[in-house]
Symmetry: C2
Subunit: 332 residues, 2 copies
């Protein structure tokens, strides 16, 4: 079996590892090419304009790359969505990514208290209280703009769910900054529990109902079928990202990054190749579990459950698509 | 004007300051004695039993004091509530306080990453996802028990609001732990924005609808009258606590605590007495603003708006009552 067979995406060929690492075969579960919105290029242009109004990123090169991956990625996340909703979701994901790049990761690890202060502004805006917001930043101004737009199209419940998950994404950034340089302090169980938050995938899921205009009834939302489908995709999204970005995250100083393979090496006292093999199998199992649920939920045709399952499927597809992007191949 | 006149509660007489500090006069706005539930002692006994099932506190002395202030305090927070709802709200407040005492404050300041890991378990439970929860603690088990009980009696919307505010309270604990030893890094504006979260008052407000069985319509919730009333009480709750606990928080090592008077001294280049005078005036203004809104909203008799205003009034009263409790007078 060659690399292309194993990965279905030829990802391993791009990793500067000592040898091609085993990668998950998702060709059966999430085969590309993935449906894409006709507005893909519009989204990319729009996000660049939005970043003119809210200058979250100073480097023109980074800005261009981020608008590209966000625009093209969002076009695969919600391929059937209307244009304005795609713009809004893209702006939100761009905001989260730029926030993480600017204040999180190694910057946040160096000065966690500063990261906390920046997040406190966001928490304040998410809670939407009347107390004055404290110090304001361009990220705060941009978040306010996003929340206003979501508030205009979301039901109160949808808005509450979105803002709850946004809080969790911000907490994920915080958790990661506190552990980036000390993977030894993180158990595998803790890592797996936090990974969906650091991948922002639950926040993306929370935008689906608002974007596509359906709403699950509470019994549907809390059904085993929906919960298991969401959990499988939440795991998959973070884990495949870990495999795709491992080389990039290692290349700075050679230290093992806070990433699934690192923790699997420790847990199983194995080498990196075996850890990649284990992680690939975990990804494939979660992908299969997700597809099983998606297939069952879409079998009955229409209605919010089928809409939701299709949305979760395209969200999963967008994460599978993401890991092929140059963001994870360039070793800056 | 003697101390009793100034404070209405003789608080200043209990502060071990070089001189009696100016304290807010709340006798006109929130005069005691405050209505008390007939279940006050039942709540106190119940919380002690609950702490047998979920041993969050190891010191018998601390346990007794905390059950006392929580039981008697909750009896004043919702004096008209049924017994089981009071038990539930008391357990929640006890949980938050015990979590803060155990992992937050100086313990959290010493090892913020450990605090983050403990909070990550809670974030996971609050998000209610299917991924395995990572490491579990007795605080996690107790939180799960609380959330199940709230889930049984709250509407989806009420539950989402409660869990959102609980996240903010946990973030408040985190924010405080990162700044406890460095008030210099905190601007007055940031402090004022975060103080409602560190005082847990927004979480207490979020329990009111569930406890008392009413639900605001969205236009009511977002009306200026409701928002301003809530913001005034949110400020008041934290600020009077700061004044009441200043001596206790200073007494350990003489360093100025992260507290409103400390930040006012810096902001106005004044001494502690003047800072207390300024803070007292701020408290009185917020108390008056709250009363104005409460009076207007209860003038029309019944309905959710009046129910809510009465709930906010008794919540404010409970914070005013709290600062007289020995928790803030004992200098452990």
């Amino acid at each position: 079996m060659n690399d292309s067979d194993r990965t279905g995406t030829q990802l391993s060929a791009t990793l500067p590892m000592p040898m091609p690492m085993p990668m998950p075969n998702l060709r059966g579960s999430f085969p590309g090419p993935f449906p894409t919105s006709p507005y893909a290029d519009d989204i990319e242009r729009h996000t660049a304009d939005w970043l003119q109004a809210f200058p979250l990123i100073s480097s023109p090169g980074k800005l261009k790359a981020l608008c590209n991956i966000t625009g093209q990625g969002m076009a695969r996340t919600f391929p059937t969505s209307d244009r304005d909703s795609l713009f809004l979701c893209a702006d939100l994901l761009l905001w989260l990514t730029a926030f993480d790049d600017t204040y999180g990761e190694s910057t946040g690890a160096r000065d966690p208290a500063r990261l906390i202060r920046r997040i406190s502004e966001c928490v304040h805006l998410l809670a939407d209280h009347d107390e004055p917001p404290g110090e304001t930043s361009v990220f705060g101004t941009a978040l306010r703009h996003l929340l206003t737009r979501f508030g205009e199209r979301a039901t109160p419940n949808q808005y509450l769910r979105l803002t709850a998950h946004l809080r969790d994404s911000l907490f994920g950034i915080l958790w990661e900054a506190h552990h980036l340089d000390k993977p030894d302090h993180v158990t595998l169980a803790d890592y797996l529990a936090m990974r969906p938050h650091t991948a922002f995938v639950r926040t993306v899921m929370a935008t689906a109902e608002i974007t596509l205009g359906y709403e699950l009834a509470e019994p549907q939302r809390s059904s085993a079928a929906v919960r298991e489908m969401e959990a499988a995709v939440a795991d998959l999204a973070g884990w495949i990202n870990d495999l795709a970005s491992y080389a990039k995250e290692t290349s700075h100083d050679g230290q093992s990054p806070l990433s699934l393979p690192t923790l699997l090496m420790r847990q199983h006292a194995c080498d990196l190749e075996e850890a990649f093999r284990l992680a690939s199998r975990m990804c494939e199992e979660r992908a299969d579990a997700a597809v099983l649920r998606i297939t069952a939920l879409t079998a009955n045709g229409n209605g919010p459950l089928a809409d939701h399952a299709r949305a979760i499927k395209s969200i999963a597809s967008s994460y599978v698509w993401h890991i092929q992007h140059s963001r994870y191949r360039d070793h800056e």
